[in-house]
């Protein structure tokens, strides 16, 4: 079974803090993704990485950056958290050459 884990289920941070969200997959997948999910807006792609050290912007990259130093780990960074970044953050991974993305349990981030 594919397993995608995220470092925290719930996180509360203050405006202006630097926030790190970590995602780890154990299936040796090349591709990894970060989404945010908001009521009425659905899932929106923030960034994805198609291989180690490779990244590409998704639909809403503003205010975020990412890091992929190792194949199994993909980090989402909020350089200076703002209240409009309060959301559910979902990580996914996919084997290169296949189509199905497998999701982690999500991190619910609240920025006060």
């Amino acid at each position: 079974d594919v397993k995608v884990t995220q470092s925290s289920r719930y996180l509360v941070k203050r405006t202006g803090e630097k926030v790190f969200l970590e995602c780890v997959q154990d299936m040796d997948h090349e591709n990894m993704f970060w989404y945010r999910q908001d009521p009425g807006l659905g899932l929106r792609l923030i960034y994805f990485s198609y291989d180690v050290k490779m990244k590409e912007k998704g639909d809403i990259p503003e205010g975020y950056s990412v890091s992929r130093e190792k194949k199994e780990r993909f980090s989402l960074i909020l350089e200076s958290a703002s209240t409009n970044q309060t959301s559910m953050y979902l990580c996914a991974s996919r084997q290169h050459g296949t189509d199905t993305q497998y999701f982690g349990p999500g991190t619910r981030l609240t920025v006060l």
């Binding site: 659905g42 792609l45 994805f48 999500g106």
Partner: protein, 118 residues
């Protein structure tokens, strides 16, 4: 721009009352259509991938079908444990941007919240 519209937004059924969820899509060229189930506070769980019109896939009480414009998720004799939000997503065959990486992109609908009462 790829678009996915799911209907209804919410559906309430009695246990055993069969029904269907709809996913209408507009995409430059369909590479695949995906169905996921999401329980409250959790990540989406993969259910099915459909690739071509006429294709059908089944899993327990769920059956997904695909036409050139829409997909249906049929739920036969649902049980309370089928209560969840069902998400539909599409992946296009062609990049809509200069970047080759955008072929990886899934476009999601907003989901249908299904409640099955005992």
């Amino acid at each position: 721009e790829d678009q996915v519209t799911q209907s209804p937004e919410a559906l309430r059924l009695q246990e055993g009352e069969s029904s269907s969820l709809n996913c209408s899509y507009t995409v430059s060229g369909l590479r695949g259509l995906f169905w996921y189930r999401q329980d409250p506070g959790k990540g989406p769980e993969f259910l099915f991938t459909l690739y071509s019109a006429g294709e059908e896939k089944e899993k327990e009480r769920l059956k997904a079908t695909l036409t050139k414009k829409e997909s249906f998720l049929h739920i036969t004799a649902p049980k309370p444990e089928d209560s969840a939000t069902y998400l539909c997503a599409v992946q296009a065959t062609k990049s809509t941007q200069n970047s080759g990486g955008s072929n990886y992109k899934l476009t999601f609908g907003k989901g249908t919240l299904l409640t099955v009462n005992p």
